[in-house]
Symmetry: C2
């Protein structure tokens, strides 16, 4: 460590530098840099002088997860990953940051949300915004044409040229399984198709170059009333009232396979080849969904748009329903076949769709790899689960410890450590208190607080007899168990619970 007086002198000088720059109104970056140097010096000093300089917070938009939250998170992750594995997916991983140009131009109006890094040795880097674009980059880079993969317990995709709508139906089945298993309450999966949307825009008279931006506006229908959406179309995006009203008529429609059949007969919409292709596939999709027995939750909803640019075919979004007393029906819900009386949605928890063009954007020869995928909104699901856990009386365990090795007498630390190591080596999850002579009461309290079900108590007599007193915390029952039998006895008792 540098001499304290030296550092104090350096702090004085550096303090002057900062004051001077601020007085001169120097640029922010330069001031920040000098302030950082000052803080670094103060930190070196330690002691009282170095205090108070740290803002104890996480970066905006980020948060910590405490053990209880992580236990719930792990449960959510396990459910999702088990489902992905049940469906035969492999897993890959890609870095948290990508070359900026990899992400540029893939998201449309959402691309403002990309975080850029400072120049790192000549490379412009950005934090990834989703896992789909890095996945497409991965496929093109490795010339992979067929894969079913998941990525960090939230993204599942099927890449490859297959018979239509079979992988798409599996994605919806996966959403259905995950949301059912997590017991988040009633839900609906809205489906639509970009080709149907584009066909609808075309027959309503939206100019080609406005398709994507009008799509973004339609996407707001889950948060805004139709009147406001229409307003944005007319005032901000320059559509005529008539065109907007025609769109309004279509986007209020909801149904199932029947709606797809009806729209194939629609005199206007059936003029669009694109829309017809989308509607035929929608029929096919519903026939597979019937085999999978998930049509009770799936709604063909013409108001579903999804903001991202890269979708090319079917799109979907799962929303949780919250049964509220007498909800005011919104225009979208009036024509609904499913979900009419089921309440109002409380936000999207999963979404995805088909993106057949994205991989080709990365391939030097533009070679396409058709893909369909789904992304689970784990953050939203996690906060719902957290709220539920808080509301319920059930205690969430944050460790899996099966037994605490304890003693009631003094001077048995060494014996406790020896037994604990024996248990660890036998694969038992065991804890021991890090004190030479802990009180029995505090050892038992630790078990109560953290939910450890068993205590293995050592004493002079037990050591002499070659036994351990095994206590069940919940019932306070105790029984002597021979040292040789202990591991099996612990396994037996903890597998029962």
């Amino acid at each position: 460590m540098a001499d304290k007086a030296q550092i104090q002198a350096a702090i004085k000088v550096q303090g002057e530098v900062v004051r001077k720059l601020k007085a001169e109104k120097a640029n922010k970056e330069q001031i920040d840099e000098e302030v950082a140097k000052l803080l670094e010096l103060k930190a070196q000093l330690g002691g009282d002088e170095g205090k108070h300089q740290f803002v104890l917070k996480t970066a905006k938009g980020t948060r910590d997860y405490n053990p209880k939250q992580m236990a719930i998170r792990e449960k959510v992750f396990n459910t999702i990953v088990s489902c992905f594995k049940r469906h035969g997916a492999e897993t890959i991983d890609t870095p948290v940051f990508e070359l900026k140009e990899t992400l540029t131009g893939k998201y449309g109006e959402d691309s403002k949300l990309i975080y850029d890094l400072k120049d790192q040795g000549g490379e412009l880097l950005s934090l990834r915004y989703d896992l789909t674009v890095p996945f497409a980059r991965y496929l093109a880079m490795n010339k992979i044409t067929n894969i079913k993969r998941y990525h960090i317990a939230k993204d599942f995709d099927i890449a490859g040229q297959y018979d239509p709508m079979i992988p798409d139906a599996e994605c919806l089945k996966i959403v259905h399984e995950i949301l059912s298993e997590l017991e988040l309450g009633d839900f609906r999966i809205k489906v639509n198709d970009r080709r149907i949307l584009d066909g609808m825009f075309a027959v309503c008279g939206v100019p080609d170059e406005k398709f994507r931006t009008i799509c973004s506006t339609v996407d707001k229908l889950d948060k805004m009333a139709w009147e406001d959406v229409k307003n944005e179309m007319v005032k901000d995006k320059g559509l005529s009232e008539e065109v907007a009203d025609q769109i309004g008529n279509y986007v209020s429609m909801q149904g199932g396979m029947d709606l797809a059949e009806r729209l194939l007969q629609d005199p206007k919409l059936s003029q669009s080849k694109q829309a017809c292709a989308g509607l035929m596939d929608m029929k096919q999709l519903f026939s597979y969904l019937e085999l999978f027995q998930v049509t009770d939750k799936v709604v063909f909803d013409l108001s579903l748009a999804r903001g991202l640019d890269y979708y090319t075919g079917i799109i979907y979004e799962a929303v949780l329903m919250q049964t509220l007393p007498a909800p005011t029906p919104t225009s979208q819900e009036q024509n609904g076949a499913v979900g009419e009386d089921a309440g109002v949605s409380v936000g999207s928890v999963a979404g995805g769709g088909r993106y057949d063009g994205l991989v080709g954007m990365f391939d030097p020869k533009g070679k396409k790899v058709p893909c369909v995928g789904v992304s689970i909104g784990i953050e939203r699901i996690f906060s719902i689960m957290e709220q539920k856990a808080e509301a319920s009386a059930e205690k969430v365990r944050t460790t899996e410890t099966q037994v605490l090795v304890a003693s009631a007498q003094k001077n048995l630390l060494e014996e406790r450590l020896r037994l604990t190591a024996e248990l660890w080596n036998a694969g038992i999850k065991a804890e021991v208190m890090y004190k030479k002579n802990p009180k029995l009461l505090s050892q038992l309290q630790h078990c109560e607080e953290t939910g450890i079900p068993l205590v293995a108590i050592l004493g002079e007599q037990e050591l002499k007899d070659g036994v351990v007193k095994l206590r069940t915390v919940a019932t306070r029952e105790e029984a002597d168990v021979s040292r040789a039998e202990l591991v099996n006895e612990i396994k037996k008792r903890t597998s029962e619970s």
Copy 2:
């Protein structure tokens, strides 16, 4: 989408802008920005004009993980996390980026390695460099004084005021368990203590303010010869030859509890109170390690320094040994009690130590929370495991699929989908090919390639009889199983293997 001609015109204009800036030798950032705009326009165009603009690579210093690599990774993660859970740890998570000032001044000479982000709404952010500093920030922010936690399958720490060296010994036991279970070959865990190092520097005549920088130089002894390390001390860091040689004498020592006892009698070193405190604790540590039966792999090594500033007590590092033919002994190894003939180390795979001051640096009142922890070098372990897997003949499975639902006849897609959904709903990991009429051979090949052990074959006759032909891929044995028994039969056959 915007009109193609419009975009082409915009590309021309933007191309001119870029050419002009380059001709004017404008600053790099500005040029990059305009180039990005140009690429974005080209990307919008799609088609041939948009090609070749993407560099298909990951950012420097990052990599993708393919399914095979991820399968190995998952095995490593599971082993490590199981060990952490066996030792009763909870888990927490902190964001990938922190306020820059949180990370500033904690690492010493290693702090150059911190990645900064661009200013995000007035906050200066950096990517975390390790998990220890964010953990300390978390403890101070949440006023936590006692916790045993792990973090993303690699960091394990015990925070709290306990009787000396018990948690420290547990950390070493954990390293021993993990490296043994992963079967990476022989290893050694080197231990030392910052107080012993500082005391040694003091009695050798190193000025106080040079302790940390000399520490960093000593830390290079695992990669550099003593002569080069000495050179750095004398030429770059301004020590006299005599002082350097005295250090050289100490850092060549290796041993166990005996060495700690011997050094307590060392006429020079025993003059340092700090060193004596460290040596007493080292003795205590070895007595616990004997109870844990891990002393065969632990070496008290005075050359171990560890670069990071935040350590205050015991430090350790695990290295793998590689038995090479007749290794040239280096100066450090000549005095070694353990490891003399065991070969040479091939790099650190785990490390850690005690950092009693770090949490206090974040606490507004400087309140200290003593901590000791270990970090597993998962990237290095993972690449060793990967090399081993490549060298071995054993095939690594990347999915866990138990059964493929297949058929030999045409027009059975619907029946295949129905059965697959039944199996998914019963928790069976099942796949089905996304083709209307796949050939039986290609279905069987898919099983061979991906290691799926069973095939459930449907045909007209089976459907009539209410059975499924269950085939074991390895033996080609087939047996009719009733539809009602299928789930149990699959579970039975796949639990055996």
